[in-house]
Symmetry: C2
Subunit: 345 residues, 2 copies
Amino acid sequence: MSSVKRKGERVTLKEVAKHAGVSTATVSYVINNTRYVSDKLKSSVLNAVDELGYSPNNIARSLRSNQTYTIGLIVSNVENPFYTEIARAIEEKAYSEGYSVIICNSEDDILKETNYLKLLQSKRLDGIILAPAPGENEHLYYVLQENSMPIVLLNRKLDVEGIPIIKINNRHSAERCVNHLIETHGYRDIGAVIGSVETLLSKDRYDGFVHALNSFGLPVRNEWIIHGNSSFAGGYKALKHLMGKDKRPEAIFIGGSLMYLGVLSALKELHLKCPEDIALIGFSEMRFSHLLEPPLSTIHQPAKKLAELSLEVLLQQISGIERKQNAFELETELIIRNSCGCNKM
Amino acid sequence: MSSVKRKGERVTLKEVAKHAGVSTATVSYVINNTRYVSDKLKSSVLNAVDELGYSPNNIARSLRSNQTYTIGLIVSNVENPFYTEIARAIEEKAYSEGYSVIICNSEDDILKETNYLKLLQSKRLDGIILAPAPGENEHLYYVLQENSMPIVLLNRKLDVEGIPIIKINNRHSAERCVNHLIETHGYRDIGAVIGSVETLLSKDRYDGFVHALNSFGLPVRNEWIIHGNSSFAGGYKALKHLMGKDKRPEAIFIGGSLMYLGVLSALKELHLKCPEDIALIGFSEMRFSHLLEPPLSTIHQPAKKLAELSLEVLLQQISGIERKQNAFELETELIIRNSCGCNKM
DNA sequence: CGATTAAATCTAAACGATTAAATCAAAGGA
DNA sequence: TCCTTTGATTTAATCGTTTAGATTTAATCG
């Protein structure tokens, strides 16, 4: 074959029907197994399907049935290891449930997020799983108005009744990190590198951080709390900034995987040793945190569970099943390695 | 609002038309800017759109126009750092071109790949970017028959004329790795951990490895060449296996990111030092290879360029533009860090 | 003023499936 | 035998757009 022919010449159900000498209804019934059809007709339909290489047009189906069997996943960036894992787990479960997933990176940009929401709306997806972007949520109300599509929120808050939200216990997790720094290592000068408090996620982590300090009677030194954007570069810049201060903290709590790596990279560049010169602890979803130098002490989030739960709730929402529960909070695990100053491998 | 209403009650173009007191054609013309419409009618249409909260139904559009503005990306697993980057870059460019992307993980499983191909076919996507899964390609011919959808291959070969293929120079890249081990460090006992030779990708890397040894007159010792599957576990098992031999190699060439990390992890577990006990070099698309212990000497692939080029070629294919060139090969970069025995940072 | 032309709008036929409702055929019952 | 019932198949409306082509309206001109 010299080249693939252009579209628009595909075989339709109608042609199958003609070829098999039956009506379109019959073809539809045998393909979807939705009514009894005599063996004789059934086999001639099947033959025709085979001979013509018929592949049903799901667009037409969707138009008729109002179902696309496709959902959207909006995250800030799949390259963030946490969202990579989320995306993977959602795709896997979605596949097994007969759904496809369109992946959207909002890049923490409200405009891009809005555009994607409108687009997914127009594509009539069956539902959306939406992870946080910082800033106001006003643009979301547009999508959430009546007659709109099912949606579940991941680590993100919205003051609309009936929208399910799935999250981990960010506040408590942050607290445990800081507690560890204080209780086990006796650090008192503790800084933080956290994303914008405009997201629920970062706000909660910030609150946990502050609460831990307070509970030990330690002062919260605002000049040691850097709110960057939750990226590698954000962490990198934050650390450089922090190390430029007259008085430096002894330990730093870090509120996100990419920032953690950025911090680490900046540290290396400054020839500072971790944990000797400065101790680190925080959120990292890197599957390879233990291979880094030093092995990172981290909060481990149950990303897979989170993803599966989100999809489950979304699918319930799609099929109109009533939920008793609207908010779900999963627990995390604190994994102590070396970066905080502990010696375990 | 107590709860989002179920679907099926959305406002249609027809309703907009009635509300604005014009025909559906007129509404369509103003929405798509496809014919001149008087200011008077135009504004009343726009008003109606606004008041009713109309959002066009792209399913109906697609049915009419035979265009979905959606493409499919099939990779073995987005969690593989190389494909994460590919997915990200494709999504970004696709977005800017007005396309969405459905992501599919084949898990190197021919059945899953086949199912996805059929599904994407049924969904009438505009095109597919297909990365390799190992094994025979027979199932692909089904998708590639006449009247089928545009497709481009990433690092994957297929004997069908006119199917574009985009790849990096795998053979030469592997060769350079091994050359470095021999020329710079004088290693003579060199093993390899590579994926299944049933993929073009791994086959090329294998060939490069062998060719390098040959060109220095070194023997190819098959017991030191482990073909695992290209995963973390694959690398991990391969190394353990390799280290169980009576005579061990001094250095290992590794043909993939995840395997590289698996090898590293197994090494740590065995308390073997790299590069002192065993030197490593190979393909790793980890953005953070330099933060690992030791910093990895790697081939760096221009994933972003690869992704953008693939999409570009696919879009050309979709719009029926003739290509002069059907095969594209990009060059890689050898980045020397510490794992091979060099001392540079 | 009527004819001609151009401009703006509308009518209605697709696109490719699903599915109520209608039709047709055969069997069963009196 | 004729009527009823049941079962298998078909007819045709529908989903929400786009877009030729028909129609209407307005403008121009001899």
